[in-house]
Symmetry: C2
Subunit: 354 residues, 2 copies
């Protein structure tokens, strides 16, 4: 990958280097709120079909970057690609969320799991990465990602989405060693997977810990953070002559930002329930911060949306190290015009103190 990066604001902000303005991208920016996404989805036939087809995954990844002047592309994929590669019978039923035909609940179930080879079972992902890099031709950097071991494990053990996480929490209390065995396996798979994405051209990577926030503080450290630390520790740091920054995002992890910052990641994602000013105090300059507009603010009238966006920008305060984002993914019923306004507002913001 030797194309020159024309816009490296994201990479610099993630490493807390000064930038002339704050970079912006949005979680789930390639999603159902875009009519072009819905058209592609109809053509492809389903969500998994889109993820596993590099040509389509590339097309969808580029849609928001073609439409809005965003500062990053994020690979269109899913956090469940790893268990999908473990042959657990993943399905996405319309409006139902993911379901696994073969949930992982016993020591024997864990014994059966292998660590997927990213060059084989997950080749569709690295192919999509290469293809996106080629198509982007250095316009903006490409972010790769994976689910955190804990978050991926919740789906594997529960057999899909959950409200109470009763099955995996029971495993946590009854067989903590077995659960750690599963999490270790997922950490290993995640390391190989993210490093393969980096090798294929991902210029930054992000760990999504969507369900770390359902744990007690002690459980969070033991069952989620520890295994994310293991992943962060083993990531490739340089590629194509540049540092590859990493981001850790625990939804509902507002109380633990300082602990997350201490694992050695470059940036920490913040959901909308914590003020960035407080988040910044908690991480004490150790990491960059990414976030954190309430995704529902995209339903607000234009003036309110602009005001809320500026409030988030102001709340970070002066100095480098802020990547503007939502506090969670865009929802399907958002008007793309509002996204355009949001991006324009961030781009027009005068950074106090660089």
């Amino acid at each position: 990958m030797s194309d020159t990066l024309k816009n490296d604001l994201l990479l610099r902000a993630l490493l807390r280097e000064p930038t002339p303005r704050r970079p912006v991208w949005l979680m789930r920016q390639a999603g159902r709120y875009l009519p072009e996404y819905r058209a592609t989805r109809t053509r492809a036939g389903g969500f998994l079909e889109m993820c596993t087809n590099p040509e389509i995954a590339c097309e969808i990844t580029l849609q928001p970057v073609d439409r809005f002047p965003l500062d990053a592309a994020i690979l269109f994929s899913d956090i469940l690609t790893i268990p999908h590669a473990m042959n657990l019978g993943l399905e996405f039923e319309a409006g139902e969320g993911p379901k696994f035909e073969f949930p992982v609940r016993t020591p024997a179930d864990i014994d059966k799991l292998g660590v997927p080879d990213p060059g084989q079972e997950l080749k569709y992902v690295t192919e999509a990465v290469s293809r996106v890099r080629r198509e982007l031709a250095g316009r903006v950097p490409l972010i790769g990602f994976a689910g955190s071991p804990w978050t991926v494990a919740t789906y594997m053990v529960e057999g899909g989405s959950s409200k109470t996480f009763g099955v995996i929490k029971r495993m946590m209390y009854e067989s903590p060693r077995e659960l750690h065995r599963l999490l270790e396996l997922l950490a290993k798979a995640t390391i190989l997977y993210l490093n393969a994405q980096i090798e294929a051209g991902a210029q930054a990577v992000m760990l999504f810990d969507t369900w770390g926030g359902v744990l007690t503080p002690a459980q969070y450290e033991e069952f989620s953070l520890r295994h994310m630390a293991q992943v962060i520790d083993a990531l490739t740091r340089q590629s194509g002559g540049r540092r590859v920054p990493n981001i850790v995002f625990t939804k509902g992890g507002g109380a633990w930002l300082g602990k997350i910052a201490a694992i050695g990641c470059d940036a920490v994602g913040v959901d909308w329930t914590t003020d960035l000013s407080d988040a910044r105090k908690a991480v004490a300059g150790r990491v960059a911060l990414q976030g954190n507009l309430d995704p529902s603010a995209l339903f607000a009238p234009p003036d309110t949306l602009r005001r809320e966006t500026l409030r988030v920008l102001d709340s970070y305060g002066p100095g480098p190290g802020h990547v503007f984002n939502l506090g969670h993914g865009i929802t399907p019923d958002v008007d793309p015009e509002r996204v355009a306004l949001l991006v324009e507002t961030v781009r027009g913001y005068q950074v106090p103190g660089g």
Copy 2:
């Protein structure tokens, strides 16, 4: 109500008075995990039928108090009794959660709402309270409760449960004044409702703010906390010659415990994602704390459950002002034997420093 209270540990702990041991009760202690509850439910025909029948509501309220040596009874009821009394067509379909036939979404919808008279439309609740007090005959105090205005409004506006709260958040951004009008109305209704429960015999009252945690810090203060403060402010403080303590519980409100304590309530509920030692620092001795064992710990083997229970007790530290509880309601698949063990463990705990 002139019966002498034989066990007033709860009331004393909620007012931060010393007690020989820490009181314990459990959110949703009268619930589906009890076979006697399931039997009554089958007989009654449904959830709403149980809530609205004082004789059955009384029977269910007493079930956990008869089975375990708990230090309080909590009225069997629901946080949606107020909108039910507003004739919004509430239904509970099996396994589906609550649904409103007539959601409240426009100014005209709000115009139509009246403040229910607790002596009329909610008479079944005050009758249940009187009946429970009579049957308890001073064994333990009875806790009355209501949902917070914000939390009740989420169900009314969304038309039921929600994952993203997109409809009410849209209203919050588009028509904040209308939403405040709805919340004011609910605050008024809640004041009348809780004071009627107190008059009928409730010896402590609790506000359940189950969904305050989905808001940003600024929104939480404006749309949830402010209206809870209004309720707390207007509650009857004395009844039957005793102070009637109140408890405010925002699930997911760990970052805002100090702000909650400042509204003038007597006690603050804490979910399992915050350590009680940190919670205690946050409230700085202004209020008692109630919580906060992870409800899933009830799935743990006995030794682990005992250890986790002791960990919560220890985490509060010495001195009065701790009411032991879960961090959220008991789930239906819990073994009652585990609840017995939990209660026994709390009762046997030697309080450091009273």
